[in-house]
């Protein structure tokens, strides 16, 4: 429970964000499925411009946390604040309007719609036609494959292409915070590298990212800060570099190196 003695590398938190308050703050979040607790009181911060990674085993509560941030699940306790607005308790569409987009676990693309229609739905809330066209170009620039498949139905794409579409669709909202849930799941190793490269590019273009990953090594490589979830609690936290070198993390999540 006490994060202090379990996180020997947690003391550099003060330098994050350069004195600015975090864009996303989660305090004592608890989320239940029926009577079963999936997230048992976690707190975390995401600062402007960061890539924050959330790693942990299956069932640790990573996706549950993401779904709670996006308003798809109602927290039982705790608070989620985004840019000074209380997000917890809002419905999914209201959270999206505040500037949070998610590329969800399992991609969840609209299989009976074309690639173009999927991307258009990503910009559903926006009215600035010129900006939408511009962002569509940007997505095609990041994922040239999607441009080739533009008129194809989403359900006929390969797994990697669907992942690209899910990320592109989320970017079409021009979010200020992008939640990526398992973007590398089920992808061929070559594609995994491509996807992580693109995440870095999107981040360098100014989008703050919260990344959930099972591929802990790759996630820690591109992340600024990281949290390790263990059965609903935050076990360790610290600069991603430090966690990548941490003995416990290496043993538990990075194979026996």
């Amino acid at each position: 429970m006490s994060e202090q003695h379990m996180s020997p590398v947690a003391d550099n938190a003060a330098v994050r964000g350069g004195g600015q308050p975090p864009v996303l703050t989660i305090t004592d979040l608890e989320v239940y499925y029926g009577n079963i607790a999936a997230v048992k009181g976690i707190s975390l911060d995401v600062y402007q411009g960061e890539i924050v990674t959330l790693i942990g085993a299956n069932g640790a509560g990573k996706s549950t946390t993401m779904r709670a941030i996006s308003g798809l699940l109602k927290p039982r306790k705790g608070e989620i604040m985004f840019e000074g607005n209380k997000v917890s308790g809002l419905r999914g569409n209201e959270v999206a309007k505040l500037g949070i987009a998610q590329s969800p676990e399992g991609r969840r693309i609209f299989g009976r719609m074309t690639v173009a229609e999927n991307l258009e739905l990503g910009s559903f809330m926006r009215r600035d036609k010129a900006g939408i066209v511009e962002d569509m170009e940007r997505v095609f620039d990041l994922f040239p494959r999607l441009k080739e498949r533009i008129a194809q139905k989403g359900g006929t794409l390969s797994g990697g292409e669907q992942q690209m579409l899910a990320m592109g669709r989320a970017l079409m909202a021009r979010p200020r915070l992008l939640l990526l849930d398992e973007p590398s799941m089920g992808l061929a190793p070559v594609l995994v590298d491509v996807v992580f490269e693109i995440i870095e590019r999107v981040n360098s273009q100014g989008t703050t990212i919260l990344l959930v990953e099972q591929n802990a090594l790759a996630a820690l490589n591109i992340g600024n800060y990281a949290y390790v979830l263990e059965t609903g609690h935050i076990g360790l936290q610290g600069a991603a570099k430090d966690l990548a070198n941490n003995e416990d993390v290496r043993n538990a999540y990075l194979g026996h190196a």
């Binding site: 996006s70 569409n93 999206a96 969800p104 609209f110 009976r112 229609e117 739905l121 559903f124 809330m125």
Partner: protein, 341 residues
Amino acid sequence: MATAERSAPRFKLESLLGMAVLAGGVAWIIWSFATDPVIFTQVLTIGLSNGALYALIALGYTMVYGIIELINFAHGDLFMLGSVVGAIFLEEWLKQTSSSPKSWALLALTMVFAMAACALINIVIEKLAYRRLRNAPKLAPLITAVGVSFILQNIGILMNGSAPHSRTSVLPTSSVNIGSIEIRVKYIVVVAVTIPLLLLMTWIVQKTRVGKAMRATAQDRDASLLMGINVDRIISFTFALGGALAGAAGVLFVQVNGNTRYDAGFRLGLIAFTAAVLGGVGNLVGAVVGGVLIGVIQALNDGAPHFPGQKWTQTVMFSILIIMVIFRPGGIFGQHQQEKV
């Protein structure tokens, strides 16, 4: 793998049987037409007109199923309320009981009124009865729908009485003659009103922003929320659209049949449901095709030469329902769907 190989010949046999039944049906229809082309064509036009009504009602079933996977058994009764509300509005409020250009204009107004009323009623039903059960096991909203059906029937009894109430049609009773074929004007009116409604509906679903949101919501509700789509409002809108079509069907039904009855929704609802199953529940085009097909099959069976005749019509239609559910649960266009009632 092994089971797939083993079941392959069985599917072949089934599709052969299906072809045989289809060929037999077509041959039967040709035989009937050849015996008496005039009667056959007249009966066919009645079938098309009835089919148009079924299509309007079937669309409400199929749209609601498409978006929340609920077979809304109260939908037929909503159609009944539309017929009663429309008839009261036209006869008792607007005092129109004879055919004149003025009464035709007021009939159009009645149509708008009944459509708005049914849209509103359907929105309220969804909000009060179905919304809370959206994440409940599927049986719960289904039973609730049956309950809502009874409530609507009782409202029907309050407004219309428990016996059939005869209503006067304001449409001309004349016929149009093409050669020796005689087509009643009222049937032409039904088709002429239905087609633009169907086109309007297609346009809304395919081309508008709200239509796009409807299609997205039907495919994945959570993903739609992530896109910023107000899913609750889109579901309300879908119920409104389905309700409006049922209201239009109700008004047209009274004009064709000249009566209102509180239990009209039960039979017509089942027929329209059969039409929706025939076209594949959830498939909009399928519902229209299914509606027209059922209308035509019913009319031919009722009146065309060499068909079993009226007393067999219900048997024929519900046999179709049973055969479809067993052999082609995905409808005549055939994509297999897992969710079933």
